[in-house]
């Protein structure tokens, strides 16, 4: 797995386009939110900014890159090549996704540290970590499932739009309007409960036990995404 991950890491740093997509763009967008944090705090809360940061990086830096990478590796038969070795499927996928996952986590942590230093620390850091990690796992699962429906990297530009824009829209909706109304709908949408968890972790004021229950919908989306991926994911291009 590590040799595959090393290969992916080398490629990320060699390919300027991938660098821009997976690193500079989410960082720039997030930097904008931090710079304008007072404006956004008026809309909702600092937790809302944190949630948008998490989902911006998660959607563009992690989810889109995961789909594009897997579609590209499938299209040029690299997945088939890897499956010609003793490496297991889980090892192959882990190796391919590890670098971009680590990069996304580093981006999120770095941006949230900056946010905390300029706007105030989160109320519950472990809860925030749980929210970030569960979101990352959900986006990876959704990425695997979407990659099954994506024939090529070019195709990924279209197939990733519903989930990437959808999760950011849900995060904005939940972040701005809260969950007092349409609670069930907001929590069941992908990213809804994760956003609420980020809000609770950053803003505080909600019992931890109540907040932890919000992990369930997010992890349910992981299960759904993995189930979809196991049916949809292909290792070779369609003939």
């Amino acid at each position: 797995m590590l040799s595959i991950a090393l290969g992916e890491l080398i490629q990320i740093f060699r390919n300027r386009l991938v660098l821009v997509t997976s690193f500079i763009m989410p960082t720039a967008v997030s930097a904008y939110f931090i710079r304008q944090h007072e404006v956004f705090a008026d809309l909702g809360s600092l937790g809302y900014i944190a949630a948008v940061v998490v989902f911006t990086v998660g959607a563009f830096g992690l989810y889109t890159t995961t789909v594009t990478t897997l579609a590209s590796r499938r299209q040029n038969l690299f997945l088939k090549r890897l499956r010609s070795t003793p490496a297991g499927d889980a090892d192959i996928l882990s190796g391919l996704m590890l670098p971009v996952t680590v990069l996304a986590l580093v981006q999120v942590v770095a941006i949230l540290v900056v946010l905390a230093s300029v706007a105030g620390e989160p109320a519950n850091v472990p809860l925030l970590a749980a929210a970030v990690l569960s979101t990352v796992v959900m986006m990876l699962g959704l990425g695997l499932a979407t990659a099954g429906l994506t024939n090529s990297p070019e195709h990924a530009q279209v197939t990733t739009l519903p989930v990437s824009l959808g999760t950011i829209a849900v995060a904005s909706w939940v972040g701005i309007t809260g969950t007092e109304e349409l609670t069930l709908v907001k929590r069941l949408l992908p990213g809804g409960s994760a956003t609420e968890l980020v809000l609770n972790a950053w803003n505080g004021g909600v019992p931890v036990a109540d907040s932890l229950l919000l992990l369930a919908p997010t992890l349910s989306w992981v299960v759904v995404a993995i189930a979809l991926a196991s049916r949809l994911f292909r290792w070779e291009p369609r003939r």
């Binding site: 040799s3 595959i4 090393l6 290969g7 080398i10 490629q11 060699r14 390919n15 590796r73 040029n76 038969l77 690299f78 088939k80 090549r81 890897l82 499956r83 010609s84 070795t85 003793p86 490496a87 297991g88 070779e236």
Partner: protein, 294 residues
């Protein structure tokens, strides 16, 4: 050479929806053999090969490699090297990085430098795969397949796109691997390569074996051919012959030497010259062409 089967396929069937791609195929490949799996386009050889490699599950029947299911990658793959028909490398990795990665994953021990030397890519070690020519990519493919000298090597169209020097070098490397005991499964459209090197040939047509055996066994089912031109005023030939569209005489025979002796004696006795004389044993090409006549 021993008779231990490295590959044991019994009543293999493969279907894609309603299409029956491989039908009741049974064959074995023994340790140390070079087995050529040949066939017409769409004959089912790629499906068969991918099933034996473990890339595809059989619809029915059994496939054993080293006595185990080829789907059990962890136990079987360290003992086999696979040269795919198409390259399948990361374009942004260098040649050396690619060989190192696949070599590490193979769990076999070898030196990247040695393998690159075998395929004459040492000078391209630092070049990105995307900058290689088609022939160089094929050699890189071969390098990853033979990394660590595996016991079983699948070569899928190994010489396609290679110049003659590279082909010779590749076959020299294969010969050395065979001397070390490797078993080779080959598919190729260059039938002269299979004719020259295969211990046995499985000739597929429409999902099943049309014929299987040694090259000699396959070619002896068809007559050898003698062709020549004669002047219009020549006397009648002493044996049965046909005229081709260009006017040349065509003689088919299962006793090439005896027939040639008879023809040359007849020509000498009549003061004739057999112009543009061509004679040769039956080739795999002829066996292939005969499939289409069936």
């Amino acid at each position: 050479m021993t008779s231990t089967p490295v590959i044991d396929v019994e009543r293999l069937n493969l279907s894609y929806g309603d299409f029956h791609a491989v039908k009741d195929l049974t064959f074995q490949v023994r340790k140390g053999e070079l087995y050529a799996l040949l066939g017409t386009n769409g004959a089912g050889k790629t499906s068969t090969l991918e099933t034996v490699e473990g890339h595809r599950a059989a619809t029915s029947g059994t496939v054993r490699v080293f006595g185990q299911s080829p789907r059990d990658r962890r136990s079987v793959r360290p003992r086999m090297g696979i040269m795919l028909q198409e390259s399948g490398f990361s374009p942004d990795l260098t040649v050396k990085e690619s060989v190192r990665m696949i070599g590490t994953l193979s769990r076999r021990r070898d030196r990247v430098e040695r393998v690159l030397d075998v395929v004459d890519l040492t000078h391209k070690a630092g070049t990105k795969v995307s900058q290689l020519s088609g022939g160089e990519k094929r050699r890189l493919d071969f390098a990853t397949a033979v990394y660590g000298k595996p016991e079983l090597i699948f070569l899928d169209e190994p010489t396609t796109g290679l110049d003659i020097q590279s082909r010779d070098a590749l076959w020299d490397a294969v010969d050395k691997l065979r001397e070390d005991g490797s078993t080779i499964v080959l598919t190729t459209h260059y039938l002269e390569e299979a004719q020259a090197r295969a211990d046995r040939v499985g000739l597929m047509h429409k999902g099943a074996f049309h014929q299987e055996g040694t090259v000699a066994e396959l070619t002896r089912t068809l007559p050898a051919v003698i062709r020549f031109s004669l002047p219009a005023a020549a006397p009648a030939l002493p044996l049965r012959a046909a005229r081709e569209s260009d006017g040349r005489v065509l003689v088919e025979t299962f006793g090439l030497q005896e027939t040639l002796y008879a023809l040359l004696d007849w020509a000498h006795a009549n003061g004739l010259e057999l112009r543009e004389l061509e004679a040769g044993p039956t080739r795999l090409d002829d066996v292939f062409r005969a499939i289409g006549d069936d």
